[in-house]
Symmetry: C2
Subunit: 273 residues, 2 copies
DNA sequence: CAAATCTATCTTATTTTTAGGACAGCTTTT
DNA sequence: AAAAGCTGTCCTAAAAATAAGATAGATTTG
Protein backbone atom coordinates (compact mmCIF):
# COMPACT_ATOMS: atom_id res chain seq x y z
CA UNK A 1 0.00 0.00 0.00
CA UNK A 2 1.32 3.37 -0.95
CA UNK A 3 0.94 6.59 0.92
CA UNK A 4 1.34 9.65 -1.20
CA UNK A 5 0.94 13.28 -0.28
CA UNK A 6 2.54 16.60 -0.33
CA UNK A 7 5.34 17.22 2.03
CA UNK A 8 4.70 18.72 5.34
CA UNK A 9 5.27 22.44 5.27
CA UNK A 10 4.31 22.62 1.67
CA UNK A 11 1.04 20.99 2.50
CA UNK A 12 0.44 23.44 5.23
CA UNK A 13 1.12 26.53 3.26
CA UNK A 14 -0.97 25.07 0.51
CA UNK A 15 -3.90 24.53 2.83
CA UNK A 16 -3.64 27.99 4.28
CA UNK A 17 -3.61 29.65 0.92
CA UNK A 18 -6.26 27.38 -0.50
CA UNK A 19 -8.48 28.30 2.34
CA UNK A 20 -8.07 31.97 1.64
CA UNK A 21 -8.93 31.47 -1.97
CA UNK A 22 -11.86 29.16 -1.56
CA UNK A 23 -13.34 31.08 1.32
CA UNK A 24 -13.32 34.18 -0.79
CA UNK A 25 -11.01 36.07 1.51
CA UNK A 26 -8.89 36.64 -1.54
CA UNK A 27 -11.17 37.63 -4.33
CA UNK A 28 -11.13 36.49 -7.86
CA UNK A 29 -8.49 38.35 -9.80
CA UNK A 30 -6.62 39.55 -6.77
CA UNK A 31 -2.88 39.15 -6.71
CA UNK A 32 -1.34 37.12 -3.95
CA UNK A 33 1.70 38.47 -2.14
CA UNK A 34 4.92 37.65 -3.94
CA UNK A 35 6.57 34.32 -3.36
CA UNK A 36 9.25 36.02 -1.36
CA UNK A 37 6.73 37.85 0.78
CA UNK A 38 4.78 34.69 1.43
CA UNK A 39 7.94 32.88 2.33
CA UNK A 40 8.68 35.47 4.97
CA UNK A 41 5.13 35.61 6.17
CA UNK A 42 4.98 31.89 6.82
CA UNK A 43 8.60 31.60 7.82
CA UNK A 44 9.43 29.03 5.19
CA UNK A 45 11.71 29.06 2.18
CA UNK A 46 10.66 30.27 -1.20
CA UNK A 47 10.93 26.72 -2.49
CA UNK A 48 8.18 25.69 -0.15
CA UNK A 49 5.90 28.53 -1.09
CA UNK A 50 6.55 27.72 -4.68
CA UNK A 51 5.53 24.11 -4.30
CA UNK A 52 2.37 25.18 -2.54
CA UNK A 53 1.49 27.63 -5.27
CA UNK A 54 2.11 25.02 -7.92
CA UNK A 55 -0.45 22.80 -6.26
CA UNK A 56 -2.98 25.58 -6.29
CA UNK A 57 -2.22 26.28 -9.91
CA UNK A 58 -2.67 22.63 -10.79
CA UNK A 59 -6.03 22.78 -9.11
CA UNK A 60 -6.84 25.75 -11.23
CA UNK A 61 -7.47 27.92 -8.24
CA UNK A 62 -4.77 30.41 -9.05
CA UNK A 63 -2.84 31.45 -12.10
CA UNK A 64 0.83 32.24 -12.16
CA UNK A 65 2.02 34.94 -14.50
CA UNK A 66 5.70 35.19 -15.16
CA UNK A 67 7.16 38.47 -14.12
CA UNK A 68 3.88 39.65 -12.73
CA UNK A 69 2.60 37.55 -9.90
CA UNK A 70 0.13 34.90 -8.86
CA UNK A 71 -3.54 35.67 -9.23
CA UNK A 72 -6.69 34.18 -7.80
CA UNK A 73 -8.58 32.50 -10.55
CA UNK A 74 -12.11 32.58 -9.37
CA UNK A 75 -15.23 33.55 -11.23
CA UNK A 76 -15.41 30.29 -13.11
CA UNK A 77 -16.74 28.20 -10.36
CA UNK A 78 -19.77 30.32 -10.09
CA UNK A 79 -22.30 28.09 -11.74
CA UNK A 80 -22.22 24.55 -10.51
CA UNK A 81 -24.44 22.26 -12.48
CA UNK A 82 -27.15 21.45 -10.05
CA UNK A 83 -30.09 19.19 -10.18
CA UNK A 84 -32.72 20.40 -7.82
CA UNK A 85 -34.80 17.53 -6.66
CA UNK A 86 -37.85 17.99 -4.60
CA UNK A 87 -37.36 15.21 -2.15
CA UNK A 88 -34.84 12.86 -0.77
CA UNK A 89 -36.20 9.64 -2.12
CA UNK A 90 -36.61 10.76 -5.68
CA UNK A 91 -33.17 12.12 -5.34
CA UNK A 92 -31.77 8.72 -4.63
CA UNK A 93 -33.51 7.16 -7.56
CA UNK A 94 -32.44 9.94 -9.84
CA UNK A 95 -28.87 9.57 -8.80
CA UNK A 96 -29.05 5.97 -9.78
CA UNK A 97 -30.18 6.90 -13.24
CA UNK A 98 -28.10 9.84 -14.21
CA UNK A 99 -24.78 8.57 -13.11
CA UNK A 100 -22.56 5.65 -13.98
CA UNK A 101 -21.86 2.93 -11.49
CA UNK A 102 -18.99 0.58 -11.14
CA UNK A 103 -19.54 -2.41 -8.95
CA UNK A 104 -16.36 -3.17 -7.10
CA UNK A 105 -17.46 -5.86 -4.72
CA UNK A 106 -20.48 -8.06 -4.26
CA UNK A 107 -20.53 -10.81 -1.69
CA UNK A 108 -22.35 -12.33 1.21
CA UNK A 109 -20.60 -11.94 4.51
CA UNK A 110 -21.12 -11.88 8.23
CA UNK A 111 -22.18 -8.39 9.15
CA UNK A 112 -19.89 -6.15 11.18
CA UNK A 113 -21.27 -5.58 14.63
CA UNK A 114 -22.49 -2.09 13.93
CA UNK A 115 -24.35 -3.22 10.87
CA UNK A 116 -25.92 -6.19 12.59
CA UNK A 117 -27.12 -3.93 15.33
CA UNK A 118 -28.51 -1.28 13.08
CA UNK A 119 -30.32 -3.70 10.80
CA UNK A 120 -31.35 -5.99 13.62
CA UNK A 121 -30.59 -9.08 11.62
CA UNK A 122 -30.71 -12.47 13.24
CA UNK A 123 -27.55 -13.63 14.89
CA UNK A 124 -26.73 -16.13 12.21
CA UNK A 125 -28.04 -14.27 9.20
CA UNK A 126 -25.59 -13.12 6.63
CA UNK A 127 -25.71 -9.88 4.71
CA UNK A 128 -24.98 -8.88 1.18
CA UNK A 129 -22.13 -6.45 1.06
CA UNK A 130 -21.65 -4.39 -2.03
CA UNK A 131 -19.23 -1.66 -2.90
CA UNK A 132 -20.07 0.72 -5.68
CA UNK A 133 -18.35 3.74 -7.11
CA UNK A 134 -20.51 6.29 -8.78
CA UNK A 135 -19.25 8.61 -11.47
CA UNK A 136 -20.50 11.62 -13.27
CA UNK A 137 -18.82 12.67 -16.47
CA UNK A 138 -16.33 9.91 -15.92
CA UNK A 139 -15.23 11.44 -12.68
CA UNK A 140 -15.96 9.31 -9.65
CA UNK A 141 -17.55 11.19 -6.80
CA UNK A 142 -18.92 8.63 -4.39
CA UNK A 143 -17.87 5.41 -2.79
CA UNK A 144 -20.77 3.41 -1.47
CA UNK A 145 -20.64 0.45 0.82
CA UNK A 146 -24.04 -1.10 1.32
CA UNK A 147 -25.19 -3.93 3.55
CA UNK A 148 -28.48 -5.66 2.91
CA UNK A 149 -29.93 -8.65 4.77
CA UNK A 150 -29.48 -11.78 2.73
CA UNK A 151 -33.18 -12.54 2.38
CA UNK A 152 -33.64 -9.15 0.74
CA UNK A 153 -30.46 -9.23 -1.25
CA UNK A 154 -31.43 -12.44 -2.97
CA UNK A 155 -34.28 -10.61 -4.68
CA UNK A 156 -31.96 -9.03 -7.19
CA UNK A 157 -28.81 -9.93 -9.01
CA UNK A 158 -25.34 -8.61 -9.06
CA UNK A 159 -26.07 -7.20 -12.44
CA UNK A 160 -29.18 -5.42 -11.25
CA UNK A 161 -27.12 -3.59 -8.72
CA UNK A 162 -24.74 -2.33 -11.31
CA UNK A 163 -27.57 -0.69 -13.16
CA UNK A 164 -30.25 0.38 -10.76
CA UNK A 165 -30.39 2.20 -7.49
CA UNK A 166 -30.61 -0.04 -4.50
CA UNK A 167 -33.81 1.40 -3.15
CA UNK A 168 -35.38 1.13 -6.53
CA UNK A 169 -34.55 -2.53 -6.65
CA UNK A 170 -36.21 -2.97 -3.33
CA UNK A 171 -39.32 -1.21 -4.47
CA UNK A 172 -39.41 -3.55 -7.40
CA UNK A 173 -39.46 -6.44 -5.00
CA UNK A 174 -42.38 -4.95 -3.22
CA UNK A 175 -40.42 -3.77 -0.26
CA UNK A 176 -41.16 -0.33 0.95
CA UNK A 177 -38.87 1.87 2.89
CA UNK A 178 -40.67 3.54 5.74
CA UNK A 179 -38.17 5.31 7.86
CA UNK A 180 -34.56 6.16 7.63
CA UNK A 181 -31.90 7.60 9.81
CA UNK A 182 -28.84 9.24 8.56
CA UNK A 183 -25.76 10.88 9.89
CA UNK A 184 -23.30 13.15 8.19
CA UNK A 185 -19.68 13.46 9.09
CA UNK A 186 -16.25 13.92 7.68
CA UNK A 187 -13.42 11.44 7.32
CA UNK A 188 -10.12 11.08 5.57
CA UNK A 189 -9.72 9.01 2.48
CA UNK A 190 -7.94 5.75 3.11
CA UNK A 191 -5.81 4.30 0.35
CA UNK A 192 -8.53 2.06 -1.00
CA UNK A 193 -11.10 4.78 -1.30
CA UNK A 194 -8.57 7.32 -2.47
CA UNK A 195 -7.64 5.07 -5.33
CA UNK A 196 -11.22 4.49 -6.32
CA UNK A 197 -12.12 8.16 -6.22
CA UNK A 198 -8.97 9.38 -7.84
CA UNK A 199 -7.83 11.54 -4.97
CA UNK A 200 -4.92 11.58 -2.59
CA UNK A 201 -4.84 9.58 0.58
CA UNK A 202 -5.84 11.82 3.42
CA UNK A 203 -8.17 14.00 1.41
CA UNK A 204 -11.31 15.02 3.21
CA UNK A 205 -14.53 13.20 2.40
CA UNK A 206 -18.12 13.66 3.36
CA UNK A 207 -19.32 10.60 5.16
CA UNK A 208 -22.98 9.73 5.14
CA UNK A 209 -24.30 6.76 7.02
CA UNK A 210 -27.84 5.79 6.43
CA UNK A 211 -30.02 3.06 7.83
CA UNK A 212 -33.29 2.38 6.08
CA UNK A 213 -36.08 0.51 7.80
CA UNK A 214 -39.15 -1.11 6.34
CA UNK A 215 -42.66 -1.45 7.61
CA UNK A 216 -42.04 -3.98 10.30
CA UNK A 217 -39.19 -1.96 11.66
CA UNK A 218 -36.63 -4.37 10.39
CA UNK A 219 -33.60 -3.06 8.63
CA UNK A 220 -33.51 -2.99 4.87
CA UNK A 221 -30.26 -1.27 4.12
CA UNK A 222 -27.19 0.00 5.88
CA UNK A 223 -25.32 2.40 3.70
CA UNK A 224 -21.96 3.96 4.25
CA UNK A 225 -21.41 6.60 1.61
CA UNK A 226 -18.28 8.63 1.03
CA UNK A 227 -18.38 11.68 -1.19
CA UNK A 228 -15.75 13.89 -2.69
CA UNK A 229 -16.71 17.29 -1.35
CA UNK A 230 -15.51 19.06 -4.46
CA UNK A 231 -17.82 17.01 -6.62
CA UNK A 232 -20.78 16.51 -4.42
CA UNK A 233 -22.40 18.35 -1.64
CA UNK A 234 -25.45 17.99 0.43
CA UNK A 235 -27.57 21.04 0.14
CA UNK A 236 -30.90 21.79 1.59
CA UNK A 237 -33.30 24.62 1.72
CA UNK A 238 -35.14 25.32 4.89
CA UNK A 239 -38.38 27.20 5.12
CA UNK A 240 -40.02 28.34 8.27
CA UNK A 241 -43.37 26.72 8.58
CA UNK A 242 -46.40 27.64 10.56
CA UNK A 243 -47.49 30.97 11.94
CA UNK A 244 -46.00 33.75 13.92
CA UNK A 245 -44.87 31.92 16.99
CA UNK A 246 -43.70 28.84 15.25
CA UNK A 247 -40.09 27.94 15.24
CA UNK A 248 -40.37 25.03 12.96
CA UNK A 249 -38.16 24.71 9.95
CA UNK A 250 -38.67 22.28 7.22
CA UNK A 251 -36.30 21.21 4.52
CA UNK A 252 -37.77 21.61 1.11
CA UNK A 253 -35.28 20.08 -1.17
CA UNK A 254 -31.93 18.55 -1.53
CA UNK A 255 -29.60 19.65 -4.23
CA UNK A 256 -27.03 17.64 -5.96
CA UNK A 257 -24.04 19.50 -7.20
CA UNK A 258 -22.28 17.51 -9.79
CA UNK A 259 -19.64 19.82 -10.97
CA UNK A 260 -17.24 22.48 -10.05
CA UNK A 261 -14.24 22.50 -12.25
CA UNK A 262 -15.10 21.70 -15.82
CA UNK A 263 -12.76 18.87 -16.63
CA UNK A 264 -11.87 15.73 -14.83
CA UNK A 265 -8.99 16.60 -12.64
CA UNK A 266 -5.85 14.65 -13.21
CA UNK A 267 -5.27 12.06 -10.61
CA UNK A 268 -2.71 13.51 -8.35
CA UNK A 269 -0.47 10.80 -7.17
CA UNK A 270 3.18 10.18 -6.99
CA UNK A 271 3.97 6.95 -8.69
CA UNK A 272 7.08 5.28 -7.64
CA UNK A 273 8.46 2.85 -10.14
CA UNK B 1 4.40 32.31 11.98
CA UNK B 2 5.30 28.87 13.09
CA UNK B 3 4.09 25.76 11.39
CA UNK B 4 4.19 22.71 13.59
CA UNK B 5 2.81 19.25 12.95
CA UNK B 6 3.63 15.65 12.78
CA UNK B 7 5.75 14.51 9.93
CA UNK B 8 4.13 13.42 6.80
CA UNK B 9 3.78 9.70 6.66
CA UNK B 10 3.52 9.46 10.36
CA UNK B 11 0.66 11.88 10.28
CA UNK B 12 -1.08 9.88 7.67
CA UNK B 13 -0.78 6.57 9.33
CA UNK B 14 -1.85 8.22 12.52
CA UNK B 15 -4.94 9.66 10.93
CA UNK B 16 -5.88 6.45 9.21
CA UNK B 17 -5.58 4.45 12.37
CA UNK B 18 -7.29 7.07 14.42
CA UNK B 19 -10.17 6.95 12.05
CA UNK B 20 -10.51 3.23 12.48
CA UNK B 21 -10.53 3.57 16.21
CA UNK B 22 -12.88 6.49 16.48
CA UNK B 23 -15.28 5.17 13.88
CA UNK B 24 -15.59 1.93 15.74
CA UNK B 25 -14.21 -0.18 12.96
CA UNK B 26 -11.75 -1.41 15.51
CA UNK B 27 -13.65 -2.17 18.64
CA UNK B 28 -12.75 -1.32 22.15
CA UNK B 29 -10.31 -3.83 23.52
CA UNK B 30 -9.34 -5.17 20.14
CA UNK B 31 -5.72 -5.62 19.38
CA UNK B 32 -4.26 -3.76 16.47
CA UNK B 33 -2.04 -5.61 14.03
CA UNK B 34 1.56 -5.72 15.19
CA UNK B 35 3.81 -2.82 14.41
CA UNK B 36 5.55 -4.91 11.85
CA UNK B 37 2.31 -5.92 10.21
CA UNK B 38 1.10 -2.35 10.09
CA UNK B 39 4.38 -1.25 8.61
CA UNK B 40 3.93 -3.73 5.81
CA UNK B 41 0.30 -2.92 5.35
CA UNK B 42 0.94 0.76 4.88
CA UNK B 43 4.27 0.27 3.20
CA UNK B 44 6.17 2.36 5.68
CA UNK B 45 8.89 1.54 8.14
CA UNK B 46 8.25 0.36 11.62
CA UNK B 47 9.63 3.61 12.95
CA UNK B 48 6.83 5.46 11.26
CA UNK B 49 4.14 3.14 12.53
CA UNK B 50 5.63 3.49 15.94
CA UNK B 51 5.46 7.26 15.89
CA UNK B 52 1.87 7.11 14.78
CA UNK B 53 0.95 4.70 17.53
CA UNK B 54 2.67 6.86 20.08
CA UNK B 55 0.47 9.73 19.06
CA UNK B 56 -2.61 7.61 19.49
CA UNK B 57 -1.39 6.45 22.86
CA UNK B 58 -0.75 10.01 23.94
CA UNK B 59 -4.31 10.76 22.98
CA UNK B 60 -5.41 7.88 25.10
CA UNK B 61 -7.09 6.18 22.21
CA UNK B 62 -4.96 3.08 22.38
CA UNK B 63 -2.82 1.38 24.95
CA UNK B 64 0.51 -0.21 24.24
CA UNK B 65 1.42 -3.31 26.20
CA UNK B 66 4.98 -4.43 26.07
CA UNK B 67 5.39 -7.85 24.64
CA UNK B 68 1.71 -8.15 23.90
CA UNK B 69 0.50 -5.58 21.45
CA UNK B 70 -1.42 -2.38 21.05
CA UNK B 71 -5.02 -2.31 22.10
CA UNK B 72 -7.93 -0.04 21.37
CA UNK B 73 -8.84 1.76 24.52
CA UNK B 74 -12.44 2.45 23.93
CA UNK B 75 -15.45 1.27 25.89
CA UNK B 76 -15.73 4.70 27.37
CA UNK B 77 -17.15 6.28 24.31
CA UNK B 78 -19.96 3.84 23.93
CA UNK B 79 -22.95 5.99 24.62
CA UNK B 80 -22.85 9.33 22.91
CA UNK B 81 -24.91 11.80 24.84
CA UNK B 82 -27.48 12.94 22.40
CA UNK B 83 -30.00 15.65 22.62
CA UNK B 84 -32.86 14.95 20.35
CA UNK B 85 -34.35 18.19 19.22
CA UNK B 86 -37.48 18.33 17.26
CA UNK B 87 -36.54 20.98 14.80
CA UNK B 88 -33.67 22.82 13.34
CA UNK B 89 -34.37 26.22 14.70
CA UNK B 90 -34.89 25.21 18.28
CA UNK B 91 -31.77 23.22 17.83
CA UNK B 92 -29.77 26.29 17.09
CA UNK B 93 -31.12 28.15 20.05
CA UNK B 94 -30.51 25.23 22.30
CA UNK B 95 -26.96 24.93 21.17
CA UNK B 96 -26.43 28.49 22.14
CA UNK B 97 -27.62 27.81 25.62
CA UNK B 98 -26.11 24.51 26.54
CA UNK B 99 -22.63 25.12 25.34
CA UNK B 100 -19.87 27.54 26.14
CA UNK B 101 -18.73 30.06 23.62
CA UNK B 102 -15.46 31.81 23.16
CA UNK B 103 -15.52 34.87 20.99
CA UNK B 104 -12.29 35.00 19.05
CA UNK B 105 -12.91 37.85 16.70
CA UNK B 106 -15.47 40.58 16.31
CA UNK B 107 -15.07 43.29 13.75
CA UNK B 108 -16.68 45.13 10.90
CA UNK B 109 -15.11 44.44 7.56
CA UNK B 110 -15.75 44.52 3.88
CA UNK B 111 -17.48 41.29 3.02
CA UNK B 112 -15.71 38.63 0.98
CA UNK B 113 -17.24 38.41 -2.43
CA UNK B 114 -19.06 35.19 -1.72
CA UNK B 115 -20.63 36.63 1.36
CA UNK B 116 -21.65 39.84 -0.31
CA UNK B 117 -23.33 37.87 -3.03
CA UNK B 118 -25.13 35.51 -0.75
CA UNK B 119 -26.38 38.19 1.58
CA UNK B 120 -27.03 40.65 -1.20
CA UNK B 121 -25.65 43.54 0.77
CA UNK B 122 -25.18 46.90 -0.87
CA UNK B 123 -21.91 47.46 -2.62
CA UNK B 124 -20.56 49.75 0.04
CA UNK B 125 -22.11 48.15 3.07
CA UNK B 126 -19.84 46.53 5.57
CA UNK B 127 -20.54 43.38 7.52
CA UNK B 128 -19.92 42.26 11.01
CA UNK B 129 -17.56 39.33 11.07
CA UNK B 130 -17.39 37.20 14.14
CA UNK B 131 -15.52 34.06 14.94
CA UNK B 132 -16.72 31.87 17.76
CA UNK B 133 -15.56 28.59 19.16
CA UNK B 134 -18.11 26.51 20.90
CA UNK B 135 -17.24 24.00 23.56
CA UNK B 136 -19.01 21.30 25.45
CA UNK B 137 -17.45 20.00 28.62
CA UNK B 138 -14.48 22.21 27.95
CA UNK B 139 -13.81 20.47 24.71
CA UNK B 140 -14.20 22.68 21.67
CA UNK B 141 -16.19 21.15 18.87
CA UNK B 142 -17.14 23.89 16.48
CA UNK B 143 -15.54 26.87 14.84
CA UNK B 144 -18.04 29.36 13.58
CA UNK B 145 -17.41 32.26 11.28
CA UNK B 146 -20.46 34.43 10.87
CA UNK B 147 -21.11 37.43 8.68
CA UNK B 148 -24.00 39.76 9.40
CA UNK B 149 -24.91 42.96 7.56
CA UNK B 150 -23.83 45.96 9.58
CA UNK B 151 -27.31 47.38 10.02
CA UNK B 152 -28.35 44.16 11.69
CA UNK B 153 -25.16 43.63 13.58
CA UNK B 154 -25.47 46.97 15.31
CA UNK B 155 -28.54 45.72 17.10
CA UNK B 156 -26.50 43.72 19.54
CA UNK B 157 -23.19 44.00 21.28
CA UNK B 158 -20.04 42.05 21.23
CA UNK B 159 -20.92 40.81 24.64
CA UNK B 160 -24.35 39.65 23.54
CA UNK B 161 -22.74 37.46 20.96
CA UNK B 162 -20.57 35.77 23.50
CA UNK B 163 -23.61 34.69 25.43
CA UNK B 164 -26.51 34.16 23.11
CA UNK B 165 -27.09 32.39 19.85
CA UNK B 166 -26.95 34.63 16.84
CA UNK B 167 -30.40 33.83 15.59
CA UNK B 168 -31.79 34.39 19.01
CA UNK B 169 -30.29 37.83 19.10
CA UNK B 170 -31.91 38.57 15.82
CA UNK B 171 -35.26 37.44 17.03
CA UNK B 172 -34.82 39.75 19.97
CA UNK B 173 -34.39 42.60 17.57
CA UNK B 174 -37.60 41.70 15.89
CA UNK B 175 -36.00 40.15 12.88
CA UNK B 176 -37.41 36.91 11.71
CA UNK B 177 -35.62 34.30 9.72
CA UNK B 178 -37.80 33.05 6.91
CA UNK B 179 -35.74 30.84 4.72
CA UNK B 180 -32.33 29.31 4.85
CA UNK B 181 -30.06 27.41 2.60
CA UNK B 182 -27.32 25.20 3.79
CA UNK B 183 -24.65 23.02 2.39
CA UNK B 184 -22.64 20.31 4.03
CA UNK B 185 -19.17 19.34 3.02
CA UNK B 186 -15.85 18.21 4.34
CA UNK B 187 -12.59 20.07 4.64
CA UNK B 188 -9.23 19.76 6.29
CA UNK B 189 -8.35 21.74 9.34
CA UNK B 190 -6.01 24.61 8.70
CA UNK B 191 -3.57 25.63 11.42
CA UNK B 192 -5.77 28.35 12.80
CA UNK B 193 -8.81 26.18 13.16
CA UNK B 194 -6.79 23.22 14.31
CA UNK B 195 -5.36 25.26 17.10
CA UNK B 196 -8.74 26.51 18.19
CA UNK B 197 -10.33 23.07 18.13
CA UNK B 198 -7.41 21.27 19.68
CA UNK B 199 -6.80 18.94 16.80
CA UNK B 200 -4.04 18.34 14.32
CA UNK B 201 -3.67 20.27 11.15
CA UNK B 202 -5.14 18.25 8.35
CA UNK B 203 -7.78 16.55 10.43
CA UNK B 204 -11.12 16.16 8.70
CA UNK B 205 -13.88 18.56 9.58
CA UNK B 206 -17.53 18.82 8.73
CA UNK B 207 -18.15 22.06 6.95
CA UNK B 208 -21.57 23.60 7.06
CA UNK B 209 -22.36 26.77 5.20
CA UNK B 210 -25.65 28.42 5.89
CA UNK B 211 -27.31 31.49 4.54
CA UNK B 212 -30.33 32.78 6.37
CA UNK B 213 -32.75 35.15 4.71
CA UNK B 214 -35.42 37.31 6.24
CA UNK B 215 -38.83 38.32 5.07
CA UNK B 216 -37.83 40.67 2.34
CA UNK B 217 -35.45 38.16 0.91
CA UNK B 218 -32.44 40.05 2.12
CA UNK B 219 -29.67 38.17 3.82
CA UNK B 220 -29.51 38.08 7.57
CA UNK B 221 -26.62 35.79 8.24
CA UNK B 222 -23.90 33.96 6.42
CA UNK B 223 -22.45 31.24 8.54
CA UNK B 224 -19.46 29.05 7.92
CA UNK B 225 -19.34 26.36 10.54
CA UNK B 226 -16.65 23.77 11.03
CA UNK B 227 -17.27 20.80 13.26
CA UNK B 228 -15.09 18.12 14.72
CA UNK B 229 -16.72 14.98 13.42
CA UNK B 230 -15.80 13.03 16.51
CA UNK B 231 -17.60 15.48 18.72
CA UNK B 232 -20.47 16.53 16.59
CA UNK B 233 -22.50 15.05 13.87
CA UNK B 234 -25.49 15.97 11.85
CA UNK B 235 -28.15 13.38 12.18
CA UNK B 236 -31.60 13.28 10.80
CA UNK B 237 -34.51 10.98 10.76
CA UNK B 238 -36.57 10.61 7.66
CA UNK B 239 -40.10 9.39 7.52
CA UNK B 240 -42.01 8.57 4.43
CA UNK B 241 -45.00 10.78 4.19
CA UNK B 242 -48.23 10.48 2.29
CA UNK B 243 -49.94 7.44 0.97
CA UNK B 244 -49.10 4.42 -1.08
CA UNK B 245 -47.70 6.03 -4.16
CA UNK B 246 -45.89 8.81 -2.46
CA UNK B 247 -42.20 8.99 -2.54
CA UNK B 248 -41.86 11.89 -0.28
CA UNK B 249 -39.55 11.76 2.66
CA UNK B 250 -39.54 14.22 5.41
CA UNK B 251 -36.97 14.81 8.05
CA UNK B 252 -38.39 14.70 11.51
CA UNK B 253 -35.60 15.76 13.71
CA UNK B 254 -32.02 16.62 13.97
CA UNK B 255 -29.87 15.14 16.63
CA UNK B 256 -26.96 16.70 18.28
CA UNK B 257 -24.30 14.42 19.52
CA UNK B 258 -22.31 16.23 22.06
CA UNK B 259 -20.10 13.63 23.43
CA UNK B 260 -18.14 10.65 22.58
CA UNK B 261 -15.06 10.37 24.70
CA UNK B 262 -15.65 11.23 28.31
CA UNK B 263 -12.85 13.51 29.31
CA UNK B 264 -11.40 16.58 27.74
CA UNK B 265 -8.75 15.36 25.47
CA UNK B 266 -5.35 16.91 25.83
CA UNK B 267 -4.48 19.35 23.14
CA UNK B 268 -1.91 17.69 21.01
CA UNK B 269 0.64 20.05 19.77
CA UNK B 270 4.36 20.16 19.38
CA UNK B 271 5.65 23.35 20.78
CA UNK B 272 8.89 24.40 19.33
CA UNK B 273 10.78 26.66 21.66
C1' DC C 1 9.40 -24.54 29.92
C1' DA C 2 10.21 -23.48 25.22
C1' DA C 3 8.78 -21.27 21.16
C1' DA C 4 6.70 -17.67 19.06
C1' DT C 5 5.37 -13.03 19.05
C1' DC C 6 5.41 -8.50 20.37
C1' DT C 7 7.07 -3.93 21.99
C1' DA C 8 11.27 -1.02 23.45
C1' DT C 9 15.51 0.70 22.10
C1' DC C 10 19.44 1.76 19.44
C1' DT C 11 22.28 2.21 15.22
C1' DT C 12 23.37 3.24 10.49
C1' DA C 13 22.16 4.52 5.89
C1' DT C 14 19.19 6.55 2.59
C1' DT C 15 15.78 9.50 0.90
C1' DT C 16 13.04 13.52 0.99
C1' DT C 17 12.17 18.04 2.21
C1' DT C 18 13.57 22.52 3.16
C1' DA C 19 16.77 26.47 3.21
C1' DG C 20 19.19 29.99 1.00
C1' DG C 21 21.01 32.07 -2.66
C1' DA C 22 22.27 33.40 -7.58
C1' DC C 23 20.82 34.59 -12.03
C1' DA C 24 18.00 34.90 -16.30
C1' DG C 25 14.01 36.68 -18.35
C1' DC C 26 9.36 38.67 -18.34
C1' DT C 27 6.10 42.69 -16.77
C1' DT C 28 4.91 46.66 -14.83
C1' DT C 29 6.03 51.14 -13.20
C1' DT C 30 8.59 55.29 -13.20
C1' DA D 1 14.46 53.37 -21.47
C1' DA D 2 15.56 52.31 -17.00
C1' DA D 3 14.25 50.56 -12.61
C1' DA D 4 11.85 47.71 -9.75
C1' DG D 5 9.53 43.66 -8.85
C1' DC D 6 8.10 39.21 -10.13
C1' DT D 7 8.36 34.25 -11.61
C1' DG D 8 11.30 30.33 -13.68
C1' DT D 9 15.32 27.68 -13.13
C1' DC D 10 19.38 25.89 -11.19
C1' DC D 11 22.61 24.80 -7.51
C1' DT D 12 24.54 23.53 -2.90
C1' DA D 13 23.94 22.40 1.71
C1' DA D 14 21.57 21.42 5.82
C1' DA D 15 17.85 19.36 8.28
C1' DA D 16 14.34 16.18 8.85
C1' DA D 17 11.99 12.05 8.04
C1' DT D 18 12.09 7.40 6.85
C1' DA D 19 14.07 2.77 6.04
C1' DA D 20 16.07 -1.38 7.64
C1' DG D 21 18.02 -4.25 10.76
C1' DA D 22 19.85 -6.02 15.22
C1' DT D 23 19.06 -6.97 20.00
C1' DA D 24 16.90 -7.07 24.58
C1' DG D 25 13.17 -8.06 27.38
C1' DA D 26 8.11 -8.82 28.20
C1' DT D 27 4.09 -11.71 27.23
C1' DT D 28 1.44 -15.25 25.42
C1' DT D 29 0.85 -19.85 23.48
C1' DG D 30 1.41 -24.66 23.13
Amino acid sequence: MRLATEPLKTQKVYLLLRDKVVSGELRAGARLPSEFALAQQYAVSRVTVRLALDLLAKENLVEKRVGSGTYVKGAEFGQPVTADLSNAFAHLIEMGRSTAVRLIAFEYVEPPEKVAEALRVDADERVQKSVRVRSFDDVPFSYLTAYVPERIGREYSRDDLAHMALLELMERSGLRAETAWQEVGAVLANPEVAEALGIGVGSPLISLTRVVHGKNGRGMEYLQALYRPDRYSLQMNLVRKGGEGSRHWSPTSEVYRSERAPRPRAIKRKVKT
